[in-house]
Symmetry: C2
Subunit: 114 residues, 2 copies
DNA sequence: TCCGTATTTAACCGATCGGTTGTCAACCGA
DNA sequence: TCGGTTGACAACCGATCGGTTAAATACGGA
């Protein structure tokens, strides 16, 4: 796993299985077995993916008896958004109407959150 | 290189050298030699990095005599922003004041663009 | 205490990564 | 036409990736 945090974040997200796990965790914490269920691979493989996500601090893990519930951590995603922001000016300059589109997306997200 | 576009984008960005190349390209197109100059590695290595960025469609390449100028392409970054948007609701719920912070960042970027 | 469930670890595997060196192709200018 | 510059390509290398199977660990319950 890469040393610098941003590389670790990008690396962790560069795998569909790991992104699917994150997407699942948006809906709430889950056990390893629960996270593994949709994927046709061994539990050990999923455990490895979780280790990658944890080392990138994208998830944290609790302890509940023999379960190790996974919890989504927003900080690295926020950092990623900050990194992306430094390019927004660039693509705003090149793609008209995108700003408005993203603002609309944000509005929708806000509404859903209410 | 990963098959699906989003994985390819994340993979390409999970390397500091490649991100540095992108950052340089924000300021304008550049030749391979020019892009290689700040990095202490062979030209061939940089050429490989450019191939990764190109296959992820993060850059495109022109032809000017024996030069192959590199050009930053915004589309994958825009797609990445769209992917991130689906998590904004999540971290907005968890980190107060972040939305305002990002909106301020956006405003600043807008101003700079004017 | 022994059993079952949940999860991690270890050892292994083929494929790929990120770098190297060496060679080759394309193009310009003298 | 020849030399110099720019860049790509191939072959190679050690390290790491993403998966496997098998064994070990941690915990609660009967």
């Amino acid at each position: 796993m890469p040393a610098d945090p941003l590389s670790a974040t990008f690396f962790a997200l560069a795998d569909p299985t790991r992104r699917a796990i994150l997407a699942r965790l948006v809906q709430g914490d889950a056990s390893v077995k629960e996270l593994a269920q949709p994927h046709q691979m061994s539990l050990a493989a999923v455990s490895k993916h979780l280790k990658v996500l944890e080392s990138a601090k994208l998830i944290s893990r609790g302890r509940e008896a023999q379960w190790r519930p996974c919890h989504l951590e927003p900080a690295p995603l926020r950092d990623l958004a900050t990194w992306l922001e430094s390019y927004r000016q660039f693509w705003d300059r090149n793609l008209d109407g995108l700003a408005a589109y993203l603002q609309a997306l944000q509005r929708d997200a806000k509404k859903q959150g209410d």
